[in-house]
Subunit: 234 residues, 3 copies
């Protein structure tokens, strides 16, 4: 019953969920604002990019799973918070002094917590819909990373997580499998969720610390087996 | 009861709704065709860009609110109209003489009427779904402006309303709040709707006349407080 | 009753549907991988682009028609298949020798079969929802071609089927109408479906063989009737 005790302990972790969620939404929105700033957008652009970054992944998950109300519709405070932050960012971001390395590490940690929360919650919503495991893990990844994908595409850049990310989607993917593995051992959902959550956070912080990246194996100077195919017209 | 009388009068305004809607769809589609023309697209591209511009905002609203059938599915005549217009545009647009300033003003007015109609209808659908006010106003903005956003992204351009628009989304946003403000005074929905509608049209025509734009406050030559953050990898 | 006999015969064609579907998904995914390779993406990018290309059109159709579960959620084997293929592609694609013209023709034929299958199935789902004919044919086209549109936009390219395609969307459109025309003659749905299917395949192979393309009629050196309009701000 040691595990149950741990599970009970971890259930209390749920109390922190709202705090993590709000922090993660703020950090995601901030990454959108920074990207909007690089493109010299006005307040409308800054707000919508922050909005898309923070809510895009969860919205896509809810639309694909047909869940309503959407995450940000039932939490009016999140869109309002981002609205206020966007205005503050527009007026004050350039008066700030550079962020210290400590702040940078906090930023990364909050983002990793958010990625973990969205990945495990996305997977668990899919499991609750009796969706098969591989697809359920993909739903976790979609929830965790598609806000950033939509931000990049809207700003006309190839999504960074498709190119050079430090194992961002990979941590989400492995964390989802950790969660399902523990569930398959008939452990309590809270314990399994905490295990998956921890796996995402630890893997992500390790990947950032050691600057781990997935290999890009394609090279341009080899024979292209598909060079004669009508590449694009499909 | 003066207000009720006005409201009754305004109810008859609803008779004009279809006319405004059809005109607004035509003008939106035309703006899509002009953008498609700049990119030298063929008829398939011209039609789909016109389609996305005209129906994109309403479709996104309906998907997010889970309303079916979609606006253009129950009005088969709109997609057919755009199809015919796209073919005519492809063949004849370059034979026309430049549009006179008068035509330009009509074009702007019709577009402002459409923005107003879509903004107020989007907000009212959200209100009917018991969605809280700030989010309801956002739904009005999404309905009014996301057709143009999707057009720009599909044509690989940063959405113009995020950069240099003459208060396009802003008029929609303020009109939505006007509508909700009048509703909160327990005025008839028709009256409140007409007030919001009028606010959008008047603000938009003023913004165009005086070339009002939102400020872009970011400058590149100041210290970037986030320069040490891993900007994109989020 | 000759037609009924043909229809009975054609019903057996349904047995081949799964085989065609799996082949078409594979070919679509492969076209996504080739595009991902050109942009030097990593495994995450390669997989998601392959995924979007293979499932994007059907997913958009299902979301717009509000059908669940989604096509790839109930067929877990497809996303897993693409996952394995993406890894193999990443590691081995550059060791392969150039594909022979025969392989190229098979590739084109499988893709045409997939386009036909997705076009007719998309149209038939819409018809089953009592959607009017023009819109139903559009749903077939969306199912057949929007995977490629989403692939291109995510990779920050104007969709190729909007610019220079060899009648890709056009074959889907004409095949959909062939299907509806035969249905309107009160022929069996199987027979009508087979007729539409055949129309798409034959038209597409003819278009590829003769390199048929839609005209791009716009030229830049004529008077632009809309040059004085505020083109983008709509």
């Amino acid at each position: 019953m040691a595990l149950d005790a741990i599970a009970d302990q971890l259930d209390r972790f749920a109390e922190f969920q709202y705090f993590i969620e709000a922090s993660a939404v703020t950090v995601s929105a901030l990454s959108g604002m920074i990207a909007a700033r690089e493109k010299q957008l006005d307040i409308v652009g800054t707000y919508f990019i922050a909005f898309i970054t923070a809510f895009g992944g969860g919205t896509l998950r809810d639309v694909l799973l047909n869940r309503r109300p959407l995450f940000w519709v039932s939490h009016q405070e999140y869109p309002i918070l981002i609205f206020i932050l966007s205005i503050l960012f527009l007026y004050y971001s350039q008066r700030l002094t550079p962020v210290k390395p400590l702040a940078r590490k906090s930023f990364n940690l909050i983002d990793a917590l958010g990625l973990a929360l969205f990945s495990i919650s996305g997977t668990s919503y899919a499991i609750a819909d009796r969706i098969p495991p591989f697809i359920a893990v993909l739903f976790g990844v979609i929830t965790g990373v598609f806000g950033g994908v939509l931000r990049d595409v809207t700003l006309i850049e190839i999504p960074v997580i498709f190119r050079q990310s430090t194992l961002y989607a990979t941590c989400s993917f492995l964390g989802g499998w950790t969660y399902l593995l523990f569930l398959s051992f008939k452990l309590s959902p809270s314990f399994a969720g905490a295990a998956g959550f921890t796996a995402v956070v630890v893997l992500r912080m390790l990947a950032l610390h050691y600057n781990l990246k997935l290999p890009v194996l394609y090279s341009k100077d080899v024979v292209d087996p598909f060079s004669r195919l009508p590449k694009k017209d499909l």
